[in-house]
């Protein structure tokens, strides 16, 4: 230590606070003038202290973990109460479902109801649309060993799209419900009236041949009918819309303008099959 005279030391001590305050302003200006300097100093200090912090972080995170545990334990009670309540409600629903199921089987037995087999289906990718004999048709890619048959029903994820009309060894053609050649027997769900859905090559097929007195109502749901044995009953098709020209049309659920995958359902129906395409013989089965 340098030995200084007492008055000098006192003077220095008195001066040091104003000097340091001036230095603080200097540091402030320096930090303002060169923001990068402060950043670099901070990073250097953090680098220096990181080992200490990382060592301390473990107990700190342990404490935080314990606090979180305690919080969840505290919440356990009310969570449990909530779950019990929900369980009670669900149990009531389960009872209702079981009762309904039992009633359903009882009624079925009384009606001598024949259950439908769950239909098998294959999914195929749409590779091209248009072309062929029909104006509104799509071509599906199928593997060499596909099980696609004529007359299978094609649905997209929302509803009926059409029907398989031609089957090749690696492809199949689906006649869409909008094609002018398409005739699909449908049921109007509101009145249970049968009608025919006739394609127009437009976006919305028309309804024709509904029974007298059962005029299709706007917004009525349209499902397929099992009439003629070409389709199973009850596949969703669309809703009735009256056109500006005063004709009932069906707004299809299926999005036929952007088909990319369709499911082909095999209901084992062999009703009316679509006519053979002209000058297009059925390809021989290659085995």
């Amino acid at each position: 230590m340098i030995r200084l005279s007492i008055p000098l030391r006192q003077a220095l001590a008195r001066l040091s606070l104003p000097m340091m305050i001036a230095a603080a302003f200097g540091v402030m200006l320096l930090g303002k003038a060169d923001a990068l300097l402060a950043e670099r100093a901070r990073v250097a200090l953090a680098d220096l202290l990181t080992p200490i912090w990382s060592a301390l972080q473990q107990p700190v995170s342990a404490v935080q973990q314990a606090v979180r545990e305690a919080e969840s334990l505290l919440r356990l009670r009310q969570e449990n109460a909530r779950l019990l309540q929900e369980n009670e409600r669900l149990r009531r629903w389960q009872a209702a479902a079981l009762a309904l199921e039992a009633e359903n089987t009882l009624l079925k037995r009384q009606l001598n109801y024949l259950p439908e087999a769950a239909p098998a289906y294959t999914t195929a990718r749409v590779v091209a649309d248009g072309g062929g004999t029909y104006a509104r048709a799509v071509l599906l890619a199928a593997g060499p060993q596909h099980g696609i048959r004529k007359g299978q029903v094609a649905l997209d994820e929302r509803g009926l799209a059409g029907r398989v009309t031609e089957v090749g060894s690696r492809s199949a053609r689906v006649l869409l419900a909008t094609d002018i050649n398409s005739r699909i027997p449908v049921t109007l769900e509101g009145s249970r009236a049968r009608a025919m859905m006739v394609g127009t090559n437009g976006a919305r097929p028309r309804l024709q041949h509904w029974p007298e007195g059962a005029i299709p109502q706007e917004g009525d749901r349209v499902v397929t009918s099992a009439e003629a044995g070409a389709f199973p009953a009850g596949l969703p098709v669309g809703v009735v819309r009256w056109s500006a020209a005063g004709a009932p049309e069906v707004e299809l659920f299926a999005r036929l303008d952007r088909l990319d995958m369709v499911r082909l359902f095999d209901y084992g129906l062999s009703g009316i099959l679509p006519p053979e395409a002209v000058a297009r013989p059925e390809p021989r089965a290659r085995r």
Binding site: A13, S16, L17, M19, M20, I21, A23, A24, F25, G26, V27, M28, L29, L30, G31, K32, A38, A41, R42, L45, L49, I52, W53, L56, Q57, V60, Q64
Partner: protein, 179 residues
């Protein structure tokens, strides 16, 4: 600490080391508190809030051990550990030091509660000063809530830190009286 009998008179070197340790204790303790407060626990503004009680306490009760250059260093450390504009905490701590040393004769005779209340006032003024400096240096009005939180945190931390520091202070006074 109840020693049985008086400790043996220390030799020259040991006494010097002892004195040096006593002189360095306030700064060292504050540095330790600052570094510990910077451990990320998800609470912002702890560093500045934890540094202030230490500075205040030592300025009041042992100003000789904490000269302005040490305050300057501690302020710089606070600035670097927190995201405050560089230099702002230096000025705040120096101002707190200046006023605390000026009023220390009055403050040191008060009860703990009164000193704590005075410290709360200091913390509020320090937060206000920090807010002003931040507004001036950033040339934008900063939100007031962090400042309020810092004052509360500082005021809450003071009794705990003060208990530790006054225990150390008592020990040092006893050691000085013995030595």
């Amino acid at each position: 600490m109840a020693f049985k009998g008086r400790p043996a008179p220390s030799t020259g070197l040991l006494r010097q080391v002892d004195a040096l340790a006593r002189a360095a204790f306030p700064s060292g303790f504050t540095v330790l508190v600052l570094v510990l407060a910077a451990v990320p626990v998800g609470l912002p503004g702890v560093v500045a809030a934890a540094g202030l009680p230490c500075i205040f306490f030592w300025s009041v009760f042992r100003p000789a051990a904490l000269p302005p250059p040490a305050i300057f260093g501690l302020g710089l450390l606070t600035d670097l550990l927190s995201a405050a504009p560089l230099g702002s905490n230096i000025l705040i701590l120096l101002v707190v030091y200046g006023f605390a040393t000026r009023w220390r004769r009055f403050l040191a005779r008060q009860s703990f509660l009164a000193v704590w209340l005075a410290f709360c006032g200091f913390a509020a003024v320090a937060a206000l000063l920090g807010w002003g400096l931040q507004a001036l240096l950033g040339w934008a009005v900063p939100p007031a809530m962090p400042g309020v939180a810092q004052v509360m945190l500082s005021a809450g931390l003071y009794p705990m830190l003060a208990a530790l520091m006054s225990a150390a202070q008592q020990a040092m006074i006893r050691a000085e009286a013995a030595g």
